[in-house]
């Protein structure tokens, strides 16, 4: 039942573009604040920084769309950087797919635990976060693992045409592939139904459990791929390398307007959300906001952005 106050509602057609509008507004505001912001160099830097975040957020978006949450993505990505750095000398080019496969498996295992043991995804992945962080520390010997020969992952740190970071292009490809696969198959209906109303989805014969495990599996794979990007950029793997990406990834998802309660949203929205979050991180210092105020501004803008992008008519209960 939709019993929401009709005080603040935008026409349906506009709300779909709100994340994009928020992004453009932010770029415009940063440019006004400092005309030098809008240079090729800072945009390239922003895109390069955003790439792993986009991939992480895109994967976790699927879990959120199913009505769950994946808190383990950043820890899993950190562990994956360590594994990749350790395996590169022996496996070479195969190390990348191997790491992504392992990460996907770990994601799927968490999904299975959530579905079979009927534990809330919040708890399962909170446990996963802790376990994976510890495993990363153990296998890395609690230190950075240097990559001597990065020839097989270096391609991700190149620039297309000298300007466009390869990692950003690949992040875009990941988002596009997920979005297209969802749209052209019944998966989108299944995921939405599961997220909006699990009981209704189940009684309609939707493979709810399979969909959920699949979402966790893709979320894991994305964490693995984000790790590859990080390693290619840093020439090393570290047990806490991606840890600080968890909250930005969650912020990216909600700033994009995906409902944290499930059902409503898309990976495109998370792409826009990740860019907004990154631009704030990178842009605020560039335009000369003092670091003490930066955090305040960041927090305010995130909250305002969610207020603008969340389509109230589709989400009846805001938790």
């Amino acid at each position: 039942m939709t019993t929401h106050v009709a005080a603040f509602r935008l026409p349906v057609r506009i709300t779909g573009f709100m994340p994009l509008i928020a992004l453009v507004t932010l770029v415009a505001a940063l440019t006004v604040a400092d005309a030098d912001f809008l240079t090729q160099r800072s945009l390239t830097a922003a895109l390069r920084t955003a790439a792993p975040l986009i991939v992480l957020a895109a994967g976790a978006t699927l879990v959120v769309l199913c009505g769950g949450i994946d808190l383990s993505i950043a820890a899993l990505a950190s562990l994956s950087t360590v594994l990749l750095a350790l395996w590169l000398p022996d496996l070479g080019a195969l190390a990348t797919p191997a790491v992504i496969a392992v990460a996907a498996t770990i994601g799927a295992v968490q999904g299975l635990a959530h579905v079979l043991l009927r534990i809330p995804s919040f708890i399962v992945t909170l446990g996963g976060l802790s376990i994976l962080s510890a495993v990363a520390l153990v296998v890395s010997g609690a230190g950075t693992v240097r990559v001597v020969d990065d020839s097989t992952v270096k391609w991700l740190d190149l620039y297309l045409g000298g300007y466009l970071p390869m990692s950003a292009v690949m992040a875009f490809v990941v988002v596009a592939v997920i979005a297209v696969v969802l749209t052209v198959t019944p998966l989108k209906s299944w995921i939405s139904a599961t997220g909006y109303s699990e009981s209704a989805a189940r009684l309609a014969g939707t493979p709810v459990d399979l969909v959920k495990v699949g979402a966790f599996c893709v979320s894991g794979a994305c964490a693995g791929f984000a790790a590859v990007m990080l390693v290619s950029r840093q020439f090393s793997g570290g047990p806490t390398m991606a840890d600080n990406l968890l909250l930005p990834a969650v912020a990216a998802i909600v700033v994009g307007g995906t409902a944290i309660t499930g059902g409503h949203g898309s990976v495109w929205r998370s792409l826009a959300g990740a860019l907004v979050v990154t631009l704030l991180r990178v842009g605020l210092p560039i335009v000369g906001v003092p670091s003490a105020y930066e955090q305040i501004l960041y927090g305010v803008i995130i909250v305002v952005a969610v207020a603008l992008t969340l389509d109230g008519s589709k989400v009846s209960i805001i938790k």
Partner: protein, 505 residues
């Protein structure tokens, strides 16, 4: 004549594609029970929501005791003495009845932020006394029966009397739809008691109830008030005529279309099926046959229905479809076997409110809209439009969110979900007409007949005994989880409700 307790003049409310209210007028006099009748989509829900401040009208005026008011929230409405008992129960299950009653208007029950249990209990008791209820205010809400919870809900709404310092206007939206007949009588006694110090607006789809308990009925159609009937001496037919704007069908249950059941191997054959709340249930349904299962609350019939759809575990027994033994470990297995299920809780379990008509309709039979593994948008559009037309589903379009449709049209989409695949063999209908008006009911009945005619076997858990008798070819009576009687129910030889009640208790 005294000033009306509540008056509505020319209320208008537009939604995208729908004019929900089109200049409604309504007068509620002091100390009267006013009935509100109208088909689904007539604007009843919107009007009620406007009266408690949940919907802001586009035009028109609301007067409380002669004074024009603007109601912007439930709290403002309560301050003016208007309160509503919601269709979906709005109590917090793990709090006591007393806590629920004072929730949101704690007043002197809270001092310096701390609950004063004695005061709270006294305040709650005052409300319960008003309706002469003997419910223990300190009982946990989830330990109460459904009917008792409704009493608590009414008591909660009565708190507004102290708040507004005036006789309250209490709105009851479909209060009887989930009550058993004895509970309904208790509720009606309460309503008559309420009338002594309050005005009541009563909404129900059951016209006999409306006529029974109300002093006067206002009929809505197409967002307008089309008539007013004094209930003394009125008959349901009269009201129905006003509601639909013409005479109703003489043959409500379309029994003329009743199928001839060929005696052959049953489509569904259940032997000694046992589960948590039912034991050794035997059930046969032939192709084209409609079998009703009746029983009081707790008879286990709902669970049998769910078990046949793989949504409730079974411990023993055997299910055969067309003679072949099948296992139903989950709902997907049932879907694959050609079994469809329409749950009683349409809004929660039957449909996904935020998703479109098209997506809801094709949610189960994905193959019907796909080419290979891919969704074919054109195929889906053609398919969905065909069913929208066939079932005359009133919707602005196939992409409209199903939650925006009226109940009857929602239910048709939910039914269509099982039909689009063209492979449906057995339909399990759990209260398929709950909350639907007469017109929509009649259409659902017609559809059921049509499906039966095409060979679909149907298990029906009817909304009322009359409905079971009217629709079913055969009726099983369940009590305490067992089938205790089977009553033949052929056209021309229908049993009376009394015959069934005798078996039920």
């Amino acid at each position: 004549m005294s000033v009306p307790a509540l008056e509505v003049r020319g209320l208008v409310k537009h939604y995208p594609g729908v004019k929900a209210l089109d200049g409604v007028d309504l007068v509620v006099r002091p100390n009267e029970v006013l009935g509100l009748a109208g088909e689904n989509g007539a604007g009843k829900s919107t009007l009620l929501k406007a009266l408690v401040g949940l919907v802001a009208p586009d035009a028109g005026e609301i007067f409380v005791r002669g004074e024009p008011v603007r109601l912007r929230s439930v709290v403002e409405a309560a301050n003016h003495g208007i309160g509503m008992v919601f269709q979906e129960q709005s109590l917090v299950p793990n709090l006591t009845a007393a806590e629920n009653i004072v929730l949101g208007s704690e007043g002197s029950a809270v001092r310096r932020g701390v609950y004063r249990w004695d005061t709270m209990r006294r305040l709650a008791q005052e409300q319960l006394d008003k309706i002469g209820s003997d419910i223990d205010p300190l009982a946990r809400t989830d330990s109460l029966s459904f009917a008792e919870r409704q009493m608590v809900e009414i008591a909660k709404v009565l708190r507004i009397e102290e708040r507004s310092q005036h006789p309250p206007v209490i709105i009851l939206d479909e209060p009887t739809s989930v009550l058993e007949s004895k509970e309904i009588e208790t509720l009606f006694a309460q309503i008559r008691r309420l009338r002594e110090f309050a005005s009541v607006v009563f909404v129900s789809h059951r016209l006999d109830e409306v006529l029974d308990v109300c002093d006067r009925v206002t009929v809505l159609r197409g967002g307008q008030s089309v008539g007013e009937v004094a209930t003394a001496g009125a008959v349901p037919g009269e009201l129905h005529k006003l509601m639909i704007g013409s005479t109703g069908s003489d043959d409500h249950y379309h029994s003329g279309a009743a199928s001839l059941v060929a005696a052959e191997q049953p489509r569904l054959s259940v032997r000694k099926l046992s589960g948590r709340s039912f034991q050794e249930v035997d059930l046969d349904v032939a192709a084209g046959e409609i079998v009703g299962i009746v029983g009081v609350h707790g008879s286990g019939r709902e669970d049998v229905c769910r078990a046949l759809f793989g949504a409730e575990p079974t411990t023993a027994g055997e299910i055969r479809m067309d003679g072949k033994k099948i296992d139903l470990p989950h709902t997907r297995a049932a879907c694959a076997a050609g079994i469809g299920y329409v749950p009683a809780e349409r809004k929660i379990e039957g449909m996904v409110g935020a998703m479109s008509v098209a997506d809801n309709m094709t949610l189960t039979k994905q193959k019907a809209r796909c080419t290979g593994p891919f969704v074919a948008p054109k195929k889906q559009a053609t398919l969905v439009d065909r069913w929208i037309e066939r079932l005359s589903i009133r919707t602005p379009g196939r992409d409209t969110a199903i939650g925006r449709l009226s109940g009857g049209n929602q239910q048709k989409v939910v039914l269509a979900r099982w039909l689009v695949g063209g492979d449906i063999k057995l339909l399990l209908l759990d209260h398929p007409t709950r909350g639907l008006d007469i017109g929509a009911r009649s259409e659902v009945y017609r559809l059921m007949r049509e499906l039966a005619g095409s060979g679909v076997a149907t298990v029906l858990l009817a909304d009322s005994l009359e409905e079971a008798i009217g629709m079913a070819d055969r009726i099983l009576v369940m009590s305490d989880g067992r089938v205790v009687a089977e009553v033949a129910c052929p056209n021309g030889g229908k049993p009376s409700p009394l015959d069934l009640v005798k078996e039920m208790v």
